[in-house]
Amino acid sequence: MSSDYRLALDNCIKCSICVSHCPVARVTDQFAGPKQNGPDLERFRLEEPAAVHPSVGYCTNCKGCDVVCPSGVAVSAMNCRARGEYVSMHGAPLRDKILARVDRMGRAARLAPSLVNRLAGLRPLRLLAEKMLGISAAMIMPRYAQKTFLELYKPQNVGDTGRKVLYYPGCYVNYNAPEVGLALAEVLAHNNIRVEVEQFDCCGLPLIANGLLDTARDQAKKNLAKLQGYINRGYDIVTTCPSCHLTLRQEYRELFQLNTDPLHEKMLDVFEYLSVLLQQGKLVTRFEELPLQVGYHRPCHLKAAGCGVPSREILQLIPGLRVADLDAGCCGLAGTYGFKKEKYAISQAIGRNVFNAVKELGVRQAISECGMCQLQIHHLTGVAVYHPLQVLAQACGHGKWLAK
């Protein structure tokens, strides 16, 4: 389906399925909803780009509207463009400009990660940040790792399978959760595959979600050129973050009209990659028993990728492991959204279903592919939350991947 078709207004038949599945519209009347901010107002914007309702800022960009639309309308892309238009006209608050640059924050934090982590937990400072900037004092901040993934990663000596894999770690893994990238390297080494790494720009999703489309477009072009170079040299590219994955593959095309076709066959969620190995009979399925019950939360951007739950098939191979689907919808954090003072309560209200599901299932550990979902689930419920790769690496046998 071409972007033009997905954007075509006339495909929207006003059935309101998107509204009824919108996690934000469900809990607040401050958001006019995906249909109104998307296709309804888009008609006016064709003539008058200024016809943007400020409530478009309440969209979390979860992309649930795209997923449920039976007519294939890219509702969220219209919302994103509209927000970009709004921000280009009215400017973005300093707070949004800061939150949108997770790569810069990560680089800055590297100077003294422990200090940053301590300061980020100090109540008076948080209250000050809330008052001065509008960053919620109630939301926990992601902790910065002592060393980045790129600093920690050491290529392992493995047998030659002829497979060339480049890993796109994304900012969160690089600066905050290097253990996920290391778990990936461990799992692939278990399969005699060596991982190449490289310094990339942020995929740009936080910029897109905050309406800073021009900067995001520049980064998109740089990233695509770099990725294309690896594809030309016969590499498969794997990701572990559903949001990076979706942004690189779909948002670059839908929002910036960049050609992402070369990525379609070559860029895979790491569990898709492992599934391909499994299908070819080349996955090493020697796993240690893991007597655990975990709750699984499916990130919205993984849903939006339309590829199911790639981790499911692989995790089923681990003896003793029981994975219960939380089936609770959006966690509500939506990247930078839940950190904003005026949106924190909305984000918590959306996440209520996740809280209920964890309590109902009585699980003490949860897994989810998205770093931000992990943070929110931990914040909501207090349970330990891991990337499914950490569980898989644990089952591969070396190291303590589940000890946090």
């Binding site: 389906m1 038949i13 059935c15 309101s16 399925i17 509204v19 009824s20 599945h21 919108c22 519209a25 469900r26 809990v27 607040t28 009347d29 909803g33 795209d66 997923v67 449920v68 639309c69 039976p70 007519s71 294939g72 979706l246 593959r249 779909q250 095309r253 992402t260 379609h264 066959e265 895979l268 898709e272 599934s275 391909v276 299908q279 849903k303 939006a304 990728a305 339309g306 590829c307 199911g308 739950v309 499911r312 689907d325 089936d327």
Partner: protein, 421 residues
């Protein structure tokens, strides 16, 4: 990306979900792929089997199962004629699934319920969720219709005026209306339902309603009592008021259809079905009358799915299962033929009692739900067709859409479950 499964279901509407539930119960590996959320979320949430008498479309049908038996004799092309052998067991299966998930569907002693709509008309239906199952309006000793100031598209006075005209209530039955406030703002059914999940809000509403309650009265409300199928809002409200509370059918997107959809999705996921929504199937490879794989796209990325059995539950024109251009219609994935006839596709009157021809268009199937050509020859052997994809049903007039979906989805799932290794 390639995927393999025993049973692939395309479409997340009622028939697709029924097929998934049944095939999974029989131990098959099941994958359900859909472009968007199926149309059951736009339905009333009730299971209509057969609404009116065959000979007299103004008379409500008293015994839908018997009427369907007669229908199959006079109209062997109707989808019910292909699924009659499993019709009753499919309904039992549906009710068992609902019961297991704590969302019971009730029947009306084998006949049709006659349930009020938001317009105050009465609609016949065979199975209704407990929150809608208002027994017999003739026995009611008082009605209070409650609306919400914040909610558009529900007008208690309209409901009350038309209900009075219908003559179904006893002459001396008091019929009052009341507008309550759920805390201000402008709300959609979903936002209001979310707000009502808060017991404090319910208490405030109870306080507003109580002074207006007459002894023996039942309450009619718009279908906003709870977001999820496992919600207790309707029950709590009834308990606090000490009067029975019912939701009436309203225009989409109404919660009862969404709750049914959520519940069935939850059920099939819990039974191990891999559900992928937001993934469009746009084509298929067929060799020697067998579908070897279907070609799908998720967020622009191609996915090939191979399955022993494929169940086509993509719906009609609205759901995108059928496509058309002037004078021609076809099924969108396998390009299965759709007969259009030579007449006009629509009747002159929008609300024509003869119905519109385009509603009857669809795919012809044999008794195993396999698609057949004009001569009755099977076109693809490992594909089965269900729900609104089937030809020959005039559901807006006959009131049988969800009934056909339940029975055909169940049958396809059952047959797929019997396919050997």
């Amino acid at each position: 990306m390639n995927k393999y499964t025993d049973v692939l279901i395309i479409g997340a509407g009622l028939s697709g979900l029924m097929a998934a539930a049944k095939a999974a119960e029989q131990g098959k590996k099941v994958m359900l792929v859909a472009k968007g959320m199926g149309a059951v979320g736009l339905s009333s949430g009730c299971i209509d089997l057969w609404g009116y008498n065959l000979e007299d479309p103004n008379q409500v049908c008293q015994d839908p199962l018997a009427e369907i038996a007669r229908l199959c004799a006079v109209n062997p092309q109707h989808p019910y004629a292909r699924v009659r052998d499993v019709l009753e067991e499919s309904l039992l299966f549906f009710r068992r699934v609902c019961q297991e998930n704590g969302y019971p569907y009730l029947d009306h002693r084998g006949g049709n319920w006659l349930l009020p709509t938001a317009l105050g008309t009465l609609r016949p239906t065979y199975l209704a969720p407990a929150s809608m199952a208002l027994g017999d309006l003739q026995q009611v000793r008082g009605v209070l219709v409650v609306g919400f100031r914040e909610l558009k598209d529900f007008y208690p006075d309209v409901l009350a005026a038309n209900l009075k005209k219908s003559g179904v209530l006893q002459a001396n039955c008091p019929l009052n209306t009341l507008m309550v406030c759920a805390g201000g703002g402008e709300l959609t059914p979903n936002t209001l339902a979310h707000r009502l999940e808060n017991p404090v809000v319910v208490d405030r509403i109870v306080d507003q309603i109580k002074p207006h309650l007459l002894p023996g009265a039942v309450l009619l409300l718009p279908p906003v009592l709870g977001e999820r199928w496992d919600s207790q809002v309707a029950k709590n409200l009834a308990e606090k008021l000490g009067h029975p509370v019912y939701e009436v059918a309203n225009i989409p997107p109404a919660l009862p259809g969404q709750r049914l959809q959520q519940m069935l999705l939850h059920h099939v996921k819990g039974r191990g079905v891999e559900v992928v929504i937001g993934c469009t199937v746009n084509g298929a490879r067929v060799a020697d009358k067998r579908c070897t794989e279907v070609l799908a796209t998720g967020a622009g990325k191609p996915i090939k799915i191979s399955a022993k059995t494929v169940i086509l539950a993509t719906g009609s024109f609205l759901g995108g299962g059928l496509e058309s251009k002037p004078g021609k219609a076809w099924e969108s994935i396998f390009r299965l033929p759709v007969e259009t006839g030579h007449e006009k596709w629509s009747a002159r009157d929008f609300l024509s009692m003869a119905g519109h021809l385009f509603n009857q268009m669809g795919i012809k199937v044999n008794e195993h739900l396999r698609p057949v050509d004009k001569t009755g020859e099977v076109i693809i052997e490992n594909v089965m067709v269900t729900g609104a994809n089937l030809a020959g049903c005039n559901h807006p007039i006959e009131k049988c859409g969800n009934g056909v979906a339940v029975a055909s989805g169940y049958k396809a799932g059952k047959l797929a479950g019997e396919v050997g290794e």
